[in-house]
Amino acid sequence: MNPPEVHAHTLRVQALYVQHQNQLRSFLHSLVPDFATVDDLVQECFLTVSEKAPEFEMGSNFGAWVRSIARFKVLALQRDHARRPPMLAPEVLESLILSAPDPTPPEHENAALESLRQCLEKLAPAAREIVRMRYFSQWGPLEISRIRECSANAINVTLARSRDALRRCMDSQTASPEVTPSCS
C-alpha cells in the first residue's frame, strides 16, 4: 500500500475499533475488574491498533485480532507490579483468554441489553440500586456499604445474588428474579 492507502486503511481499522471498543472493554472488565485500569487498557489498545493497523486484513476477524492485542496488554499489566491492581496470575489469565467465548457481534449485543433491561426492572428496588451504584457510579462494595450503612459483606451478597438472578432471568425470560437485598 502506498502512504495514502495506508492512511485510509488505518482510518477504517480505527473505525472498526470504535465499533468494537465496548465489547473489548467488557471483556477486559471480566479479567481486570477495575474500572480505571480498564480505561487505561482500552486507550493502550487503541494506540496499538492504530500502530499495527497496516497488519490487519480487512474482512478477517477484527474482534479476535483486537483481543490478541488486549491479551498482551493484560499480561504486560500483570508484570507491572507498580501499576497493576489486584490481578489473577499470568498463567491463569492466559488460560482464561484462551478459553474465552468468541466475541459477540456488536449488533447482537443490543438484544442482550434489552433483555437485561427487562430483567433489571424485575429486581427489588434496593438490589437494583446497589447494582446501579456498582456499575453506573462505579463504586466498590466498601463505598456502597458506607453509603447504605450496612456491611460490605451484605453488599457483596446482594451483588452476587443480583447477578445470578439476572442471569437466570435472561436465560429464561420468564422467571421473575426476586432478590431480597441483604441490605435494604
Binding site: 482510518l11 465496548n22 482500552v42 507498580a82 446501579r132
Partner: protein, 343 residues
C-alpha cells in the same frame, strides 16, 4: 453442574473483594479445570453486560426513584425522576454519546475517523429542542487563588463558599506546582470538625452548593451539568492505594438543607453521578477527572464534591491522613442535553 464455591469466588473477584487466600484458591480452580474456566465466562456474562450497559445504554442503569419516596412500590411511575429517567424516545442516545466521548484520546481519534468517513458517520448532531449555549455555573474561588481557608465544617448550607473536611490552601510544595495560578487545595484528613469521635473516616471531601433556580428556563429545555477538576498526588507507599473522586448530585429543597440531603444523597437526590480515578504514579502529574449529570427541571440546587480517599488498606475506625493529594481548577458547566445518536 455449577460449583457454588467457585461462584462465590468469581463474584468476589468481580467486585475486587478477594482475599489473598481466596485469590490463590480461585487461581488453582481456574488453572486446573476447563469446567471452572467455562463457569468463569458464564458467570461473568452478566458482569460483562452490565459494564456494556454502562458504556452503551446507561439509561438501563438509570437512577431509581428515591427509595424513601412514598409507596416504594417498585414503580417509577410516580417518581419525580420519571420524566428524566424515562424520557421520550431517543434520550438514551445522549448517554451513549456522553459515555463514548468520555475518553479524550479515543474521542479525538474517533473524531478524526468519523470526519474522514463523512456521511457514513453514525453520529448525528441534532437536538430535540432549542439549545442554549453552554456556560459555567457560578463557583466561588474555583482555583483557590483567593487563599481563603476552607472551613472543615462539612457540606455548606449556602452558596459561594467551599467547605468540607480538613484541607489547606497551599502554593507549590514538594515539587508539586498548582495546575494553574499560584495556589491549590491540599487534602489533609478524612474528617471534619463535625466528625464523630472514633468514626471511620477515609474520604476527604470539599464541596460547594450551586443554586440552579436562576437557570430554570434553560434547564427546562433539557440540560446536563458537566463537572471537571484536576487532581495530583505524591507517590504513595506500596501498601496503600489512594483514589480521587468527583461527585455531584441534584436536589429539590432549600439550600440550607444541603448538608442533610447530601448525607443521604443516594436516597434523596434527583440524580447522582460520580467518577473515580486512581492516583497516578508520576509525582506531580495532573490528571483531569470529569463527570456529567442530567438535570431535572425540578432541581433547585446541586452539590459538587471533590474527594481523595484511601482505597487500600480497608478502612478501619479512625481517620486517614493524606501524604500529598491535591486538587485545583474545578469547573461546572451547564449545557444542553447532548446530541442524539441516529443509526
Amino acid at each position: 453442574m455449577k460449583n457454588e464455591r467457585l461462584s462465590y469466588l468469581l463474584h468476589a473477584h468481580l467486585d475486587g473483594m478477594l482475599s489473598s487466600e481466596e485469590q490463590r484458591e480461585l487461581e488453582q480452580l481456574l488453572l486446573h479445570s476447563a469446567a471452572a474456566r467455562g463457569q468463569f465466562w458464564e458467570e461473568t456474562r452478566i458482569h460483562h453486560l452490565l459494564t456494556l450497559a454502562e458504556q452503551q445504554s446507561p439509561e438501563i442503569l438509570r437512577p431509581l426513584a428515591p427509595l424513601a419516596a412514598p409507596s416504594a412500590s417498585d414503580s417509577l411511575s410516580e417518581s419525580p425522576l420519571r420524566a428524566l429517567a424515562d424520557p421520550p424516545e431517543k434520550r438514551s442516545g445522549s448517554y451513549s454519546f456522553k459515555t463514548f466521548w468520555r475518553n479524550p484520546f479515543i474521542a479525538a481519534a474517533a473524531g478524526i475517523v468519523l470526519s474522514a468517513l463523512g456521511t457514513s458517520a453514525v453520529w448525528a448532531v441534532a437536538t430535540q429542542r432549542a439549545a442554549f449555549r453552554p456556560h459555567p455555573l457560578p463557583l466561588a474561588d474555583e482555583g483557590f487563588e483567593s487563599g481563603t481557608p476552607v472551613p472543615a465544617t462539612g457540606v455548606p448550607s449556602r452558596v459561594g463558599l467551599w467547605s468540607g473536611d480538613f484541607t489547606r490552601i497551599v502554593g507549590a510544595e514538594k515539587d508539586i506546582e498548582p495546575h494553574s495560578g499560584k495556589r491549590m487545595l491540599r487534602f489533609l484528613r478524612a474528617d471534619s470538625e463535625r466528625s464523630a469521635p472514633g468514626s471511620v473516616n477515609y474520604v476527604s471531601d470539599v464541596s460547594q452548593v450551586i443554586d440552579l433556580r436562576p437557570y430554570r428556563s434553560e434547564i427546562a429545555a433539557g440540560a446536563q451539568i458537566n463537572l471537571s477538576a484536576w487532581f495530583c498526588s505524591l507517590p504513595s507507599p506500596e501498601s496503600m492505594r489512594f483514589k480521587f473522586a468527583l461527585k455531584v448530585a441534584t436536589f429539590r429543597g432549600a439550600l440550607s438543607e444541603a448538608p442533610q440531603l447530601w448525607d443521604d444523597a443516594q436516597h434523596q437526590s434527583l440524580s447522582y453521578s460520580a467518577k473515580h480515578a486512581d492516583t497516578l504514579r508520576e509525582s506531580g502529574r495532573w490528571q483531569r477527572v470529569e463527570t456529567v449529570i442530567p438535570v431535572s427541571p425540578d432541581a433547585d440546587f446541586i452539590v459538587v464534591v471533590a474527594s481523595a480517599f484511601r482505597d487500600r488498606p480497608t478502612p478501619t475506625p479512625g481517620t486517614v491522613e493524606f501524604p500529598g493529594h491535591y486538587m485545583d481548577d474545578l469547573s461546572v458547566f451547564l449545557s444542553p442535553a447532548p446530541p442524539q445518536r441516529f443509526p
